[in-house]
């Protein structure tokens, strides 16, 4: 009952926050320097033609009227057409989102599993060589500059060794080949995914490792661990069944939020690896003042982050019976 009340209260909060985000996004893009038309015009376009274009995009209306249209369209589920693609932004996002989810969600899940696993080991060997190497390794990979690492990965594994494609998500050699079936095409995607996935994995697993390690170290000091030892339980059971589940709570929060943020992809990763995800579209839409596309993309991120925050909180209560709302 308490939980239900909590969820309702949070949903109301989310609605209010979302409305604020809706308004801030509108203002932010309109107040940002530049305008969509200046990107589209060339010296051969007369001011009159530019004016037609401005009016066509609905930018000749006063700002408050544009805002009212924006709110009306939002509540009617109309997000408008991209200025540059000429297509509904929902279609563009729907086209790009699965690619982003495929890469980033996979990388976060993989990083989390490996990070938690290695974090457990590091904490168990606190102060030893294993712990030192793992901590140093995690810090080093976690703090490396992502585009640099991505380019190095491409240069070594794609360019020099030729093991993987340089960039992209699919290869035209496979997808244009009428003999290639679904298996070949799936393998092709996996083949292209290997390098960006490895890069993201290297960047992210360290943070999970470090969170898990420090959380485990705290947990291992708890009385119930001492009790478990006193009961004569094996070290493996104490570590995996008593310490790890309690220590994993901060990792759950971190993974939950990372999963939510993963839908915005990563502009840098997607750009360097030419991964056709939402991150590249975000960069394009913001730099080209494509308001409908930028607004819809950010709204999607806002919704997912707000909802996943709620999910993480509820999940916390489920994982830790001591937590009650």
């Amino acid at each position: 009952m308490e939980l239900r009340r909590y969820i309702i209260r949070r949903l109301v909060q989310i609605a209010i926050i979302f409305f604020v985000i809706l308004t801030v996004l509108f203002m932010l893009f309109r107040l940002a320097p530049g305008d969509p038309v200046s990107r589209m015009v060339d010296p051969d376009m007369t001011p009159e033609e530019a004016q037609i274009l401005i009016s066509e995009l609905g930018l000749d209306q006063p700002l408050w009227m544009q805002y009212l249209y924006y709110l009306r369209n939002f509540f009617m589920g109309r997000f408008g057409n991209s200025f540059h693609y000429g297509q509904p932004v929902v279609t563009i996002i729907a086209n790009r989102l699965p690619n982003t989810i495929l890469l980033f969600t996979t990388s976060i899940i993989l990083s989390a599993f490996v990070g938690v696993f290695l974090g457990k080991i590091a904490s168990w060997h606190k102060g030893g060589k294993v712990d030192a190497w793992m901590t140093i390794g995690a810090l080093a990979t976690h703090t490396v500059f992502l585009p640099w690492l991505a380019l190095i990965m491409i240069w070594v594994f794609a360019y020099k060794l030729g093991w993987f494609p340089i960039t992209g998500m699919i290869s035209e050699e496979v997808w244009l080949n009428p003999e290639a079936g679904i298996v070949a095409k799936s393998l092709d995607v996996l083949h292209h995914m290997a390098l960006p996935l490895a890069t993201l994995f290297l960047i992210h697993f360290g943070s999970y490792l470090l969170i898990m390690r420090s959380s485990m170290l705290e947990t291992l000091k708890e009385d119930y661990i001492l009790t478990a030892r006193a009961k004569g339980l094996s070290e493996k059971v104490i570590r995996n069944h008593h310490a790890a589940p309690n220590a994993a709570l901060p990792v759950v929060t971190s993974v939950g939020l990372s999963l939510a943020f993963s839908i915005n992809g990563g502009a840098l990763t997607e750009t360097v690896f030419t991964w056709p995800g939402i991150g590249r579209e975000l960069v394009f839409s913001v730099s080209h003042n494509d308001y409908p596309l930028a607004q819809a993309s950010f709204l999607l991120i806002a919704i997912v982050v707000l909802v996943s925050n709620l999910v993480v909180d509820v999940l916390y209560a489920y994982l830790d019976p001591r937590i009650r709302y």
């Binding site: 940002a32 320097p33 530049g34 305008d35 200046s38 990107r39 589209m40 060339d42 010296p43 051969d44 376009m45 007369t46 001011p47 033609e49 530019a50 037609i52 274009l53 066509e56 540059h84 693609y85 000429g86 297509q87 086209n95 790009r96 690619n99 080991i121 380019l151 491409i154 240069w155 794609a158 360019y159 030729g162 093991w163 340089i166 960039t167 992209g168 998500m169 699919i170 035209e172 050699e173 496979v174 997808w175 244009l176 080949n177 070949a184 393998l187 092709d188 996996l190 290997a194 094996s234 070290e235 493996k236 750009t271 360097v272 690896f273 030419t274 991964w275 056709p276 590249r280 003042n289």
Partner: protein, 575 residues
């Protein structure tokens, strides 16, 4: 013990998985190259749309240029117009102010005939919908007639020079393909909006290629159009193909990745200007050929001549004298560019006026300062510390004063930021230093491109700026757009606010002069006036450096604007 065992098991599993994945990658049979006769072209961004009326980005236009064709195109060497979809040059009838164009026998990619009706339809569509980017090239057309299937006649309201260079180079669309679209659009509240937002999945082509497949975010495949009118024909003394199976446009997020793919053989051409930093490495590669061509581009410094201090032509001339274009070319562009002395790029041979003032040309730094000092001193400028002391030595000047005795206020030179264009940002910095040496309180200010345009074009609140046009039209009518007083308005192209009734008169005259030679005389006069009044100081025109694989295809055609042109794609052959 258990722990060590666990770790070993996991490591082993991971090794097996990785090895298995690698084995699959290398052993699966689908890695055979598909389409050995396809030219693979690297692009830095994906084309946004195949709707020709919406396409404003260069990437879409590169693709659409292989699909929709105009009546006339330019010869790659002489840049003269030659009939393309047209059979011959247009015939002018002065009495009726009309041009008659014969259409050559040609087909659309769906096998239907391309007729005069398609041409007339295209023009009427543009006029009726007032399609931005095309409407101004058609608004002076009074009437379009189609006396027969292969003849189209255009009646002009008034003589317009751009009719030949811009109207007749409009890409022609198929009437059958667009009729339904425009009928549906007309029934909507916003017809133009409906037209621009029409999703064009399979454009019907009259060009050498037709769309076969588009995997968004990955590649776009244009297949050879078997109905292409130029196939195996000789046009403009060039035997046309296409001799290739198609073009595959591949998207790369960065130049680094595209260049690696080029070196590796993943693409045959990178359709983008290559920065000098890559060249040494590319030149060493035995299977890569580098092309150096001129662009129809202009990079310049502009002044706000509406207000002091730059409303004084003498100050502008003095600044033009102080700017060392050789330095900019050698140090900033690393030699990959040419100096500009006119608003018209020199590569545009016919319209470029060679006899223009060249302020400070070839002078060393000290001589420039002396000359600029003379110009300013004679016109009433004074200094607290002049740049030349009583003994005639060059010293650092201090606090220049305007002819009316007021000190010159601090002014800014707006430039795009270095991450957008390092060359222009660096030019701003170096020009700032040259002007400070004369005691001018100049400050170079890099600014986000959008803000810069807003400041200069919309708000018109600025002192000076450095901007550029990377792809100027080959018709010099832009001179009129840039400097006619009529265009000195918010969002108008006359950003400097230049006003000269004599220039306006000649510009208007040139716009209505159909005779090429007479028009050239007027265009030259316009260039002379501008370079005399220097509302803009042309700085440089960067060389267009492009690279291709030389081991798979041959036949690239060089022209102003590079090798990425329809001639190349019609003449490329597998080696």
């Amino acid at each position: 013990m258990n722990l060590t065992h666990n770790v070993k098991t996991h490591v082993l599993t991971a090794r097996v998985l990785i090895l298995g994945l690698l084995a699959v990658m290398f052993l699966i049979p689908w890695r055979h190259a598909y389409g050995a006769d396809m030219v693979k072209v690297g692009l830095l961004q994906e084309p946004k749309t195949l709707n020709i009326w919406l396409a404003s980005d260069r990437w879409s236009r590169k693709v659409l240029g292989q699909i929709y064709q105009p009546l006339y195109i330019r010869d790659p060497k002489t840049l003269k117009f030659i009939p393309w979809l047209a059979q011959e040059h247009p015939v002018y009838d002065e009495a009726t102010l009309s041009y008659t164009v014969k259409i050559r026998p040609a087909k659309w990619s769906d096998g239907s005939d391309l007729t005069s009706e398609d041409v007339a339809f295209t023009g009427r569509l543009i006029k009726e919908f007032r399609v931005p980017r095309y409407a101004s090239k058609w608004k002076f057309i009074k009437k379009i007639e189609t006396p027969d299937r292969h003849t189209v006649r255009f009646y002009l309201k008034t003589p317009k020079a751009i009719f030949l260079t811009r109207t007749l180079t409009t890409p022609i669309v198929q009437k059958r393909e667009w009729t339904e679209v425009i009928e549906a659009a007309k029934k909507t509240e916003k017809p133009l909006h409906a037209l621009l937002n029409h999703k064009m999945d399979r454009p019907v082509s009259s060009g050498p290629f037709v769309l076969k497949d588009w995997k968004q975010g990955a590649y776009l495949f244009l297949q050879k159009n078997r109905y292409f009118f130029g196939q195996d024909k000789t046009i403009d003394n060039r035997k046309l193909g296409p001799h290739i199976g198609g073009i595959i446009f591949k998207i790369f997020g960065t130049s680094d990745a595209a260049i690696m793919a080029l070196k590796k053989g993943g693409i045959d051409m990178f359709w983008w200007a290559i920065q000098p930093g890559y060249l040494e490495d590319l030149r060493k590669h035995e299977n890569i050929r580098v092309f150096y061509n001129e662009k129809s581009a202009l990079y310049y410094m502009g002044f706000n001549v509406r207000r002091p201090p730059f409303n004084d032509v003498n100050l502008r001339r003095a600044i033009a004298t102080l700017i060392d274009k050789d330095f900019i070319l050698k140090r900033i562009l690393q030699g990959y560019g040419i100096k500009m002395y006119s608003i018209v790029p020199p590569g545009n041979h016919f319209w470029y006026c060679p006899n223009l003032p060249r302020y400070g040309e070839g002078l060393p730094k000290e001589a420039r300062i002396r000359r600029a000092y003379e110009i300013l001193r004679k016109t009433g400028y004074t200094w607290q510390v002049p740049p030349i002391d009583t003994e005639g030595k060059i010293v650092k000047a201090k606090d220049i004063r305007l002819p009316d005795g007021r000190p010159m206020k601090r002014f800014t030179i707006l430039t795009p930021p270095a991450d957008y264009d390092p060359n222009r940002a660096m030019c701003g910095m170096i020009i700032q230093e040259w002007l400070r040496a004369m005691g001018m309180p100049a400050f170079s200010k890099p600014m986000a491109f959008g803000s810069l345009i807003q400041q200069v074009k919309t708000r018109r609140d600025f002192d000076a700026f450095i901007l550029g046009y990377g792809n100027l039209s080959l018709d010099p009518d832009y001179l009129r757009n840039f400097f006619h007083s009529r265009n000195d308005k918010p969002k108008g192209w006359n950003m400097s606010g230049y006003k000269n009734p004599e220039f306006d008169r000649i510009a208007d005259l040139s716009a209505g002069t159909m005779d090429r030679d007479k028009r050239r005389a007027l265009i030259w006069q316009m260039q002379k006036i501008i370079m005399n009044d220097v509302p803009y100081i042309p700085l440089y025109n960067p060389k267009l450096v492009e690279a291709v694989r030389s081991d798979r295809f041959t036949g690239w055609v060089e022209m102003l604007g590079g090798i990425g042109n329809i001639w190349s794609f019609c003449r490329l052959r597998p080696r």
